[in-house]
Amino acid sequence: MDDLVLQTITRILMPFIQVYGIFVIVNGHLSPGGGFAGGTILGASVILYALTFNVGAAEDLYPDDLAEAVESSSVLIFVLVGLFAILMGANFLTNIGIFPSPETGTLFTGGFVTPLTLAIGVKVASTVITLFTHLFGEKKP
C-alpha cells in the first residue's frame, strides 16, 4: 500500500499509540488496563506499520530472533520475580514486605506489579506482532 498520506499519518501516529500502550501497561495497577490491554495496543501500532508499509518492513523493525528472545525472557522474568519471593522466605509471588512499595500517590506503588505487567505487556505485544507477521508474510514457522 504505497499511499503517502497513510504512511505519513502512520509515522506521526505510531509514537502516540505506543506511548498510550506503555501508559496503559505501567498504570495497570492503578487504572483500568494492564499488561494484556497495553500489550495489544503496543502490538497494534506495529501491525499498523506493517499494513501501511509492508510486512517486510515490520519484520525488519521487529525481527524474529528478537521476538523469540523477548517472548522467552518475559515469561522467565515473571517466573523469576515469583521465585525471588521464595528466595526471600515468603510464598511464591508475595509482594508485600518483599518488594519496595513507596508511599501512596506516586506511580510505582505496586511493588513487583509494574515489572510483571511490563513483562506481560512486552510478551503480548510480541506475540500479536509475530502472529500477524507470520500469518501475513507466510514465513516458515
Binding site: 483500568p32 488496563g33 494484556f36 490491554a37 495489544t40 497494534a44 500479536v128 500469518l135 501475513f136
Partner: protein, 79 residues
C-alpha cells in the same frame, strides 16, 4: 435513559451475532464481528469492567479482525 441505551446496545449485539452466523460474505461477517466486539466492549464498560472493555476493544475489535481479514485475503472471500 440508561435503560433504553442498554436495550439498544444489547439488541444490536444480538443482531450482530445472528448476522455473523448467517451472512455468506466472509469479509462482511468479519466486519460485523468487529461491530459485535465493539458493542461487547461498551457492555463491559457499562458492567463496570473497564479493563475488560479495553482489552475487548483492542483485541476483539482490533487485532482479531485484522487476523481474520488477513486470513480471508489468503483464502476465499465466500463461504
Amino acid at each position: 435513559m440508561t435503560e433504553i441505551f442498554h436495550v439498544m446496545v444489547l439488541t444490536f449485539l444480538i443482531i450482530c451475532a445472528i448476522a455473523v452466523a448467517y451472512i455468506r460474505d466472509l469479509l462482511s461477517a468479519v466486519i460485523l464481528f468487529a461491530a459485535y466486539s465493539l458493542m461487547m466492549a461498551v457492555i463491559w464498560q457499562q458492567l463496570d469492567a473497564p479493563d475488560i472493555a479495553m482489552a475487548e476493544a483492542a483485541i476483539g475489535a482490533g487485532v482479531t479482525t485484522l487476523l481474520f481479514v488477513v486470513t480471508i485475503s489468503k483464502t476465499r472471500r465466500q463461504e
